[in-house]
């Protein structure tokens, strides 16, 4: 909202009204300066990736200007998109991400509702506990997890390691705590009278959640979905550790293990793969951004 107001006020502020407008002008200049700096900082890597992906291997290794494409070619794209291996990685990644997002939402939304609204003994401690769980890094977790699955396999004979679907058990350890935490925050911002009104109207807890809380906290739900999707799409350590066969790999690990052969880096295809890999999250952001920004709680109470 605030950036919107600044944009609108911008042009009319050329008229000088006094020190307030001068302060404002300076504040705007500094914001634009840092925003530009930030934009350059975050846009240079993808632009470099795009440039490199359009070059042939020969041009990449030639000592020409690295920021310009002299002989643009789509060969990297054609090769990757026609290779069964790459499509397999893409498919594995997509399956993992979609299923993990679904699992995460099915767990964290009811959990957040319970923790934020159904005051029960120890709910506050549990809520903090959920967040603390998120603070344990995956680099610490992967060893005990690996051991766990190995023991599980010994006991039951069910081998999950080196299957793509082992990731469905692993990623929620990262996504569920954080998404629950986000949703607790969103649910907490919904006025208490809204669920009281629903309860008096005759709604059960479940109906209050599905018919009031989820629609009202949709922006939060979308934020959590985006987070869960990004984490499961981009996760590197777990698939690197838990999957090794080429047909079980997901994209980030697949690109690295198949396109780097010994000390030979196939830069053109690595960059192309990375760009294609970045496309789905980008598209999802673009589609969900409008919902994300729209403040749906407006009008519920006095406001």
């Amino acid at each position: 909202m605030s950036t919107l107001a600044i944009d609108k006020a911008g042009p009319s502020r050329k008229v000088k009204y006094g020190s307030m407008s001068r302060d404002r002008a300076w504040a705007l200049r500094w914001s634009y300066f840092f925003l530009t700096l930030f934009a350059i900082f975050s846009l240079v890597p993808p632009i470099y990736m795009l440039i490199t992906s359009l070059k042939s291997s020969a041009e990449i290794s030639a000592a020409t200007n690295p920021w310009w494409v002299f002989h643009p070619t789509l060969s990297n794209y054609l090769e990757l998109l026609t290779s069964n291996q790459f499509l397999r990685f893409f498919w594995n990644s997509a399956c993992v991400a979609v299923i993990v997002v679904t699992i995460t939402m099915l767990i964290s939304v009811p959990a957040a509702f319970a923790l934020s609204r159904m005051k029960f003994w120890g709910s506050a401690t549990l809520a903090t506990g959920v967040f603390l769980t998120y603070l344990i890094p995956d680099s610490l977790l992967f060893l005990p997890l690996f051991k766990m699955f190995a023991v599980f396999s010994d006991w039951t004979g069910i081998r999950l390691i080196n299957k793509w679907y082992v990731l469905l058990f692993l990623y929620p350890t990262l996504t569920v705590p954080f998404c629950t935490w986000i949703m607790i925050g969103y649910f907490a911002s919904i006025p208490k009278e809204l669920d009281e009104a629903a309860i008096i109207d005759g709604a059960s807890w479940f109906q209050t959640l599905t018919r009031i809380f989820i629609p009202v906290a949709l922006p939060g739900l979308i934020a959590a979905t985006i987070f869960a999707f990004t984490v499961s799409w981009a996760q590197f350590l777990y698939p690197l550790v838990f999957t090794t066969s080429t047909d079980q790999l997901v994209m980030p690990v697949g690109i690295i293990t198949t396109l780097i052969k010994g000390d030979v880096f196939n830069w053109g295809q690595i960059m192309t793969g990375a760009l294609l890999g970045a496309a789905p999250p980008l598209l999802i952001y673009a589609f969900l951004m409008d919902y994300y920004i729209a403040g749906l709680t407006a009008g519920a109470t006095k406001g």
């Binding site: 009278e193 009104a197 109207d201 009008g299 109470t301 006095k302």
Partner: protein, 366 residues
């Protein structure tokens, strides 16, 4: 339709006792207002009737059935909240029909009930709008509509007008009264605004510090307050309390305010205070409307006296005058043409037919 009764109802939060054993009987069709300062336990009481708060002790009965352990949805009540609590993602019609839809009423009946309530509240044109497209007053109408369509046994209002501006509040007050005249549902209404309480209620329950100070019709509370709290709370500007003593002189009862100022009590009041303690510290309670400019012909029980005004507040139809008596600020209401000016002397008349005497220590009205 149902009566509501509270027996020895107590609410305790850890160490704090928010409601300290109250008894209240609300008749069928009655409009009862719980009024009091913030923290007096009025909202807690309402929420206990609604079932949104557990009760620590005592019994609450709706329509003769004790509902202590009955969940809110089975108590057949409807509640209107201070901040409206409309569902922001639903249209006005959906907001109003939510409760009926949850109970799987036939669609045709839902439609006719919503249309009827919308017509009653004059919001038929807004039926397809979302709450954020409505003004505060319209939102409050929708919140009332949501309560009306359910056709419950009891309406509960929790400070429904506090978020509206002064003008709209007056308008909605009348609206609420009209709705009650039509639907005649038993209503419990909570407010901190004594004007709302006086104008809306069949009976007013004045609460203070978790207890009921007095229950009565608006007129009873105004004319016969039981305690200093009620006397000071009901009426605006508030009743003046001036330190005084009762003294007997020549077989007559006088109320002495200062060495030079004493008023002779009219016979009715003298009889009432015949057994009151003499020469003890008391308070003279007199409402501003019973302190006006002196005019030529003295009525029985009206005594004149001279004072110097501190401040005057012209209100248009009247002027409020403030002066000091025995170290307390006293307010009177005079005619705008009485010539009241800041710092100027003025001859005032006090109507002792409407005076009260209070025990300074206990606050009880004698």
């Amino acid at each position: 339709m149902a009566e509501v009764s509270l027996r020895e109802v107590v609410k305790r939060y850890d160490e704090v006792e928010a409601v300290r054993g109250i008894d209240l009987d609300i008749a069928d069709h009655e409009f009862v207002v719980l009024v009091g300062p913030s923290g007096c336990g009025k909202s807690t009481t309402l929420r206990m009737i609604a079932g949104l708060e557990d009760i620590t002790g005592g019994d609450i009965a709706i329509g003769g059935d004790v509902v202590n352990d009955v969940p809110p949805k089975d108590r057949d009540i409807a509640m209107v909240f201070q901040n409206y609590a409309l569902y922001p993602h639903m249209t006005v019609a959906e907001n109003m029909s939510f409760g009926l839809r949850l109970k799987h009423y036939p669609k045709a009946e839902i439609k006719s009930r919503v249309a009827e309530a919308a017509r009653m509240l004059d919001i038929t044109d807004l039926i397809d709008r979302k709450p954020k497209q409505l003004s505060g007053g319209q939102r409050q109408r929708v919140a009332m509509g949501r309560a009306i369509v359910r056709n419950p046994k009891v309406f509960l209002f929790d400070e429904p007008l506090s978020n509206l501006d002064a003008k709209l509040r007056v308008q909605m007050r009348i609206e609420i009264k009209k709705v009650h005249q039509k639907v005649r549902t038993t209503t419990v209404y909570v407010t901190h605004d004594q004007v709302e309480a006086m104008t809306l209620a069949d009976r007013v329950v004045v609460m203070n510090k978790g207890r009921i100070e007095q229950i009565g019709t608006p007129n009873e509370l105004y004319h016969h307050p039981a305690t200093r709290f009620v006397a000071g709370f009901i009426g605006s500007p508030a009743m003046n309390f001036v330190p005084c003593r009762l003294e007997e002189a020549g077989g007559k009862l006088n109320v002495r305010v200062t060495d030079r100022l004493a008023f002779a009590l009219p016979p009715a009041r003298a009889a009432r205070y015949a057994n009151a303690p003499r020469n003890e510290k008391l308070l003279l309670g007199i409402r501003p409307e019973h302190l006006s400019e002196a005019n030529g012909h003295a009525a029985p029980g009206v005594e004149n006296f001279e004072t110097v005004l501190d401040v005057t507040e012209p209100m248009g139809m009247e002027t409020l005058v403030y002066f000091t008596l025995q170290g307390t600020q006293v307010c009177g209401r005079v005619n705008p043409s009485a010539g009241a000016r800041d710092g100027a002397p003025l001859r005032l008349a006090v109507d002792l037919n409407n005076m009260h005497l209070l025990n300074e220590g206990t606050g009880a009205v004698l």
